[in-house]
């Protein structure tokens, strides 16, 4: 309610209002494509006081995939806008209703492709909640290690694309370079650079390689000084500050009202992080800070992500010390297939293995929601089970999908060029938005 009143006071009352139907003072351009097409048929050369409708995307370098924005412009100023999505929609939630709980990970991991392990984690936590099983301690620590490294790689990707969008092309190269080092470790552990299907209901797919401590220590040693270089390159640089400070401002009340989570909410000044406030895994046993902004602008969101890389590396360093020995998956015959060595020796083990991978395991009826703090905000999975080995309903609360609602409010009364900085600072992953 506060948001609406705020919008109606700052809302524009442009001239030529009768040209566009359903005009109300709001940041969101609530207009169908058909309506927009009708108006778009007007001559290209509008008079001084006329408004222009412009499509930005779906294939535009700054739109991070296939995001399309319908912009209502007065000169170079954005009055209202509407994100048009669905270009990557392949019905992944529907697909999830046809895959067993063990196969489900391969599906959800492809949603937020920049941080696939978080999708797998949320899906596994929801399944485990329905099953009522506890995973072994080592499996939980491995999950934390992999997720924090994934947060690092995801934020490095943000640093790269954010730099690219604003013309800091060297930052793009550096961001991708460091991210690749993290992905190389993922490849060693999971076999794949992305879409790992590594975190599974009951634990993880495989134990860490013997020399993982050396690899992870090397990663920390490599990335930490590079973050200092980013600071030199961008953080204090006047051009960078000019482009980001005071651009795309949002308040805590607005962010909460629009359902925004993650760096957008923290950037506005609210210290809210599920890792600290609703601890899952063993986040209550590690020491880290929740990074908070004050102005809620693009610069705060940039700085938060940069410093969250530091915090994640801090957590990773603690995990190296804390990692216990033990099982990497639960020893519950119902959920876990027998070890490979047993299959050659025992007929029963072979049958058991075959049944788990063809039929899957049955999950008692019920419904459960599990949420994790992904690099983009609260990533939740809502599962409904009807007692079979296939979920009855898989719903993913994708943070990018909901964060995208803030775009029209961030962009209102700004310039198109600032719009590029704003899209970048929201950091939407379209695979997750469209699912």
């Amino acid at each position: 309610m506060t948001l609406q009143t705020a919008m109606s006071t700052t809302g524009v009352a442009p001239s030529g209002a009768d040209r566009v139907s359903r005009r109300e003072p709001s940041a969101v351009l609530r207009m169908s494509e058909a309506e927009a097409a009708e108006i778009g048929g007007d001559p290209d050369d509008p008079g001084d006081d006329e408004l222009v409708l412009l499509n930005m995307g779906p294939s535009h370098p700054s739109t991070h995939g296939v995001l399309r924005l319908m912009l209502e412009l007065s000169g170079e100023t954005v009055l209202r806008s509407k994100p048009v999505i669905g270009y990557l929609h392949t019905g992944m939630e529907k697909t999830g209703e046809n895959l067993t709980y063990l196969q489900g990970g391969t599906n959800v991991t492809r949603m937020d492709y920049a941080s696939p392990l978080f999708n797998e984690l949320a899906f596994s936590l929801a399944t485990e909640r329905l099953l009522g099983i506890e995973v072994p301690e080592r499996a939980t620590w491995i999950r934390m290690l992999m997720c924090e490294l994934n947060r690092v790689s995801s934020h490095l990707l943000f640093m790269a694309t954010n730099g690219m969008d604003l013309g800091a092309v060297s930052m793009m190269i550096y961001g991708w370079r460091e991210r690749e080092e993290v992905l190389r470790f993922f490849e060693k552990v999971t076999g794949l650079r992305m879409n790992h299907n590594y975190i599974r209901p009951g634990g993880v797919a495989a134990d860490l390689p013997a020399d993982w401590r050396t690899d992870v220590a090397r990663l920390i040693e490599l990335i930490e000084p590079r973050l200092e270089e980013y600071d030199t390159l961008l953080t204090g640089q006047p051009i960078w500050r000019e482009r980001l400070q005071g651009v795309g401002v949002i308040s805590v009340a607005e962010a909460l009202a629009l359902g925004a989570t993650g760096p957008i909410l923290r950037g506005a000044g609210m210290a809210w992080d599920l890792r600290r406030d609703e601890p899952y895994l063993f986040y209550d046993q590690v020491d880290f800070d929740v990074i908070v902004g004050t102005h809620g602008d693009c610069y705060d969101r940039y700085a938060i992500r940069l410093n969250e890389i530091r915090e994640s590396l801090r957590i990773v360093a603690q995990i190296i010390e804390a990692m216990p020995s033990g099982d990497y998956r639960v020893q519950d015959k119902k959920v876990t297939p027998p070890p490979r060595s047993r299959i050659d020796a025992s007929m029963e083990a072979l049958i058991h293995h075959f049944k788990i991978f063809t039929e899957g395991f049955k999950v008692p009826p019920g419904e459960a929601y599990a949420a994790v703090e992904s690099p983009r905000g609260e990533l939740g999975v809502y599962l409904v089970s009807d007692g079979t080995s296939v979920p009855y309903r898989v719903h993913v609360r994708a943070p990018s999908f909901i964060n995208l609602q803030t775009l029209p409010h961030l962009m209102q009364n700004g310039l198109i060029a600032d719009g590029v900085a704003i899209i970048s600072s929201v950091d939407p992953i379209m695979g997750e938005v469209d699912r």
Partner: protein, 162 residues
């Protein structure tokens, strides 16, 4: 039977101990407003489930009439670190509910997605239109009677020449 904001509280067992209330469609807006006033400052999630082919027991509390559709809204109170899930039954004959937009503007795209995928209308929504599927798409993909293999086969009139 325990109640919260005038709505029956769900049995913890099927929901694995998570807090769930079951308002009726006519209570939906009032219960949501009461929850909003009680500190649930964010609508975290809103989705729907089509129970058309559900084989197991629904385990709804006494007095809640099961219907084909269920709209599920997850709320968060940041001050109390508390989550609450509201599950409302929506009949297949008239799949409609009042919108939560006036309480939490963030429900806008979530309700559009439910409208797109399940065909449930939200009365009073400022822009009730398809969000993921094309504007002229027929049918609602996440309904259970919408088969996942239902892509029209091209050239099916062609005779087999071999």
């Amino acid at each position: 039977m325990t109640e919260r904001y005038g709505a029956p509280v769900g049995d913890g067992r099927p929901s694995r101990g998570q807090a769930v209330i079951h308002p009726s469609p006519s209570q939906w807006l009032d219960v949501a407003a009461a929850a909003r006033a009680d500190g649930f400052d964010q609508l975290v999630d809103l989705t729907a489930v089509d129970y058309l082919t559900y084989g197991a027991d629904r385990s709804l509390p006494e007095g809640v009439q099961p219907e084909r559709f269920e709209v599920v809204a997850s709320l968060m109170s940041h001050a109390r670190l508390e989550r609450l899930r509201m599950r409302v039954q929506v009949s297949a004959d008239d799949p409609a509910l009042p919108t939560l937009f006036d309480l939490w503007p963030g429900s806008e795209s979530l309700e559009r997605e439910v409208y797109d995928m399940f065909g449930i209308a939200f009365e009073g929504h400022p822009d009730l239109s398809r969000i993921l599927m094309p504007e002229d798409w027929p049918g609602n993909p996440l309904r259970k009677d919408y088969d996942s293999g239902r892509i029209p086969v091209q050239f099916k009139a062609a005779s087999n020449v071999r």
